[in-house]
């Protein structure tokens, strides 16, 4: 019976043109976004690879020079564009892609694509993720708002129920039909996306990328499932289809436009993060205090790079100063990043009421374009910076300090530069991403159960008349 009801509902949506027009528009948008995402990812990935290689060649081709000068030149870490960014670019367009691995300082990421964007980008990026998160529910509303309310108005519901059909079977059939409509549109797009991902994924990451894609599909299925049950529940609870569509559009506007902004502000109020100025001031003060303590302990003075410390100890001083700063940076950046993650977690919990927030987090997380992945990259880049600093300092201690007053006459050879490996970053595997998105996934699944329970209750209580 479920299959018959679903087949009839599906046929109706095909014949009344809703699936062709509304669905066709969404499918066209999805394929366009996919093409745009594919082209962007390919270009960004090629640029990243070329820039990373060129930067390393610059490092290797330095002349004989003082290692600390080389440390100040440093290297750059270019963030790879994950294959799944063709579906969901996440925070990448706004957060930058390059970190300067320079002496003494842990740098922030620079050069976000949004800086180079035209004013048109103020309207947001067209991505597969955005379409599914924002327009997907709208499609479900268009397809399903009158599923019960319309039939009640026409009198068909009364006739159907008079045949002895279980109301829950009707709900199941109608839900199946809406899922079938969504599937009919998304499956071709998913196949195209799968093929595109297989092309853009790095050979060693292909399986992981496709697995992430499969889980992403499950997440979106749960999200759209929530909307299917919400739409059917509201339709069953509404006396007329006009009331149903009004309520559903209000819900859609609230979740797509209002709630994300309100909850973003609310999460900032609940977990306030430091301003850039406050962060920099606190970091600088802590660095100075730590440095003072280290210099005092080791050289009996807090005046750095002065006459109190002989040049034969400048290599050691440099190493001590750098290594003392590492925990300070770790502490300050961890505090800042943890605050951002707390804000994010609050928004994920809000997904119980506003599912798009959990879906957005889960989508970015699986695509590898969320803050957790960005943090992982930033930490990897910082580790590489410290490795460079430690190598340069060690060389100074070994070769320059023994020269005493001639410390600055020392020039290292390109062999030292070659001892620094190129920066290679491999994004974490699926298990790591799923672990970080467990909350979003749990909230989505719980949301699906709650939405189904709401729809079942509404259908059981609905009036046939």
């Amino acid at each position: 019976m479920l299959r018959r009801i679903a087949a009839r509902e599906f046929l109706e949506r095909v014949r009344d043109g809703r699936l062709y027009w509304a669905g066709g528009l969404i499918l066209a948008l999805l394929l366009t976004a996919l093409a745009v995402g594919f082209a962007h990812q390919r270009a960004a990935q090629a640029e990243q690879k070329a820039a990373q290689a060129m930067d390393y060649q610059d490092w290797l081709h330095q002349d004989h020079r003082h290692p600390h000068d080389a440390a100040h030149q440093g290297m750059h870490a270019f963030k790879p564009e994950p294959a799944l960014s063709i579906l969901d670019p996440g925070i990448n367009p706004y957060i930058g892609s390059t970190i300067w691995l320079q002496a003494h300082r842990q740098s922030e990421v620079k050069f976000n694509p949004a800086q180079d964007a035209t004013g048109l980008q103020r309207f947001g990026n067209l991505s597969v993720g955005w379409i599914l998160q924002v327009l997907g529910p709208l499609l479900i509303i268009v397809l399903g708002f009158n599923a019960f309310a319309g039939e009640r108005e026409q009198g068909i519901l009364r006739q159907t129920l008079s045949l002895g059909v279980e109301p829950l079977r009707l709900l199941g059939g109608k839900a199946l039909a809406l899922a079938g409509c969504a599937g009919a549109l998304l499956l071709p797009a998913a196949l195209v996306a799968g093929a595109a991902l297989a092309v853009v994924a790095e050979p060693g990451e292909r399986a992981d990328t496709l697995l992430r894609f499969a889980f992403l599909g499950l997440g979106y299925a749960a999200y759209l499932g929530i909307w299917i049950f919400v739409v059917l529940g509201v339709s069953a609870a509404s006396r007329t289809s006009r009331v149903a569509i009004t309520v559903l559009l209000a819900l859609w506007i609230a979740q797509a436009v209002m709630a994300p902004r309100i909850l973003s502000e609310a999460s900032r109020l609940a977990h306030p993060s430091a301003t850039r100025l406050a962060f920099n001031q606190a970091l600088a003060a802590d660095l100075k205090a730590t440095s003072d303590r280290v210099w005092l302990q080791n050289f009996g003075t807090t005046e750095r790079w002065g006459a109190d410390v002989p040049l034969r100890q400048w290599g050691i001083a440099l190493r001590l100063d750098d290594q003392a700063s590492y925990p300070v940076y770790d502490r300050h950046f961890a505090r800042l990043w943890d605050t951002w993650e707390q804000q994010q977690r609050l928004q994920e919990w809000s997904g119980l009421v506003v599912p798009v927030l959990s879906m957005r987090a889960f989508s970015m997380g699986l695509a590898g374009t969320d803050f957790a992945h960005h943090r992982d990259f930033a930490v990897a880049a910082e580790q590489h910076r410290r490795h460079i600093q430690d190598l340069m300092s060690a060389d100074l201690v070994k070769h320059a300090d023994p020269l005493g007053d001639q410390h600055f006459a020392y020039q290292a050879s390109p062999e030292l530069w070659a001892s620094v490996p190129p920066f290679h970053y491999h994004k974490p595997r699926l298990g790591w991403a799923l672990g970080r998105q467990a909350l979003s996934l749990a909230v989505l699944c719980l949301g699906l159960v709650l939405a189904a329970a709401f729809a079942a209750a509404a259908v059981r209580r609905q009036s046939a008349l």
Binding site: R4, R8, E12, D16, G155, I156, Q159, S162, L163, G164
Partner: protein
């Protein structure tokens, strides 16, 4: 087969149906007459459990409709005044879908066409979408659903309203045929002529109460119009 015992429906202070006692057995065609708001449609809706009784009980084939709303509907077919069908489907597709819901199995095309023949729907119309169907044509499709269901009881709410005399006469013939096969029929109507021609029992309702009952020979002997008007004026 269809039994009401002290069946009452109140909406706040207003009593739509007041302690109705009714028993429609196999082969009976029971016509409920009455003005608008007399409680006829309320009676049908209570038998279908579309509304809950305030008091009393309605049962179909001995089963309480409130306690077992789905089970009781297995025994009854309902034909409303305005039959609605899915406009994007043809008459045949509507019949296939609804008869499958009613019987739990998909009937073959030949059987569906037979049913449509039986109710007098033109074969050429069967494959056309019902968007262009007249009220009578839609009703025929729904009667075919009822026939496919092979229900033991029929509940009809103003079935001949809006039908032309020929279609109404065909419809009366179908009801009589069903009754001859042992089906219990409870129908509401304003059509006194149709009632007198078809019914084996007639009840006149006023303000939620059954004020007059006629059966068998009484129906033919009675000036139904005069009796009806007498109750309406009184």
């Amino acid at each position: 087969m269809l039994k009401a015992s002290g069946l009452t429906k109140r909406y706040g202070a207003h009593t739509a149906l007041d302690h109705l006692d009714l028993d429609v057995g196999p082969g009976d065609i029971y016509c409920l007459l009455g003005a608008n708001g007399a409680g006829k449609t309320t009676t049908v809706n209570l038998f279908l459990n579309f509304i809950a009784p305030s008091e009393g009980e309605a049962s179909i084939n001995g089963i309480d409709v409130t306690a077992h709303p789905v089970a009781t509907k297995q025994h009854v077919a309902y034909i409303p005044e305005m039959v609605s069908l899915y406009p994007t489907l043809s008459g045949l597709e509507n019949l296939r879908f609804f008869s499958a819901l009613a019987t739990g199995r998909e009937l073959p095309r030949e059987r569906l066409l037979e049913l449509l023949d039986q109710v007098g729907l033109d074969r050429a119309a069967a494959d056309q979408r019902v968007r262009g169907y007249s009220k009578g044509m839609r009703q025929k499709v729904w009667i075919a659903v009822a026939l496919a269901k092979e229900a033991k009881a029929l509940l009809l709410d103003e079935p001949t309203s809006g039908l032309d005399p020929h279609a109404a006469s065909e419809f009366s013939a179908l009801l009589q045929q069903a009754a001859r096969h042992g089906v219990a029929v409870l129908t509401t109507t304003h059509d006194l002529f149709h009632a007198q021609q078809t019914a084996t029992r007639i009840g006149i309702m006023k303000k939620g109460r059954l004020v007059e009952s006629l059966a068998g020979e009484q129906i033919a002997r009675t000036d139904l119009q005069a009796l009806y008007l007498q109750h309406m004026r009184g």
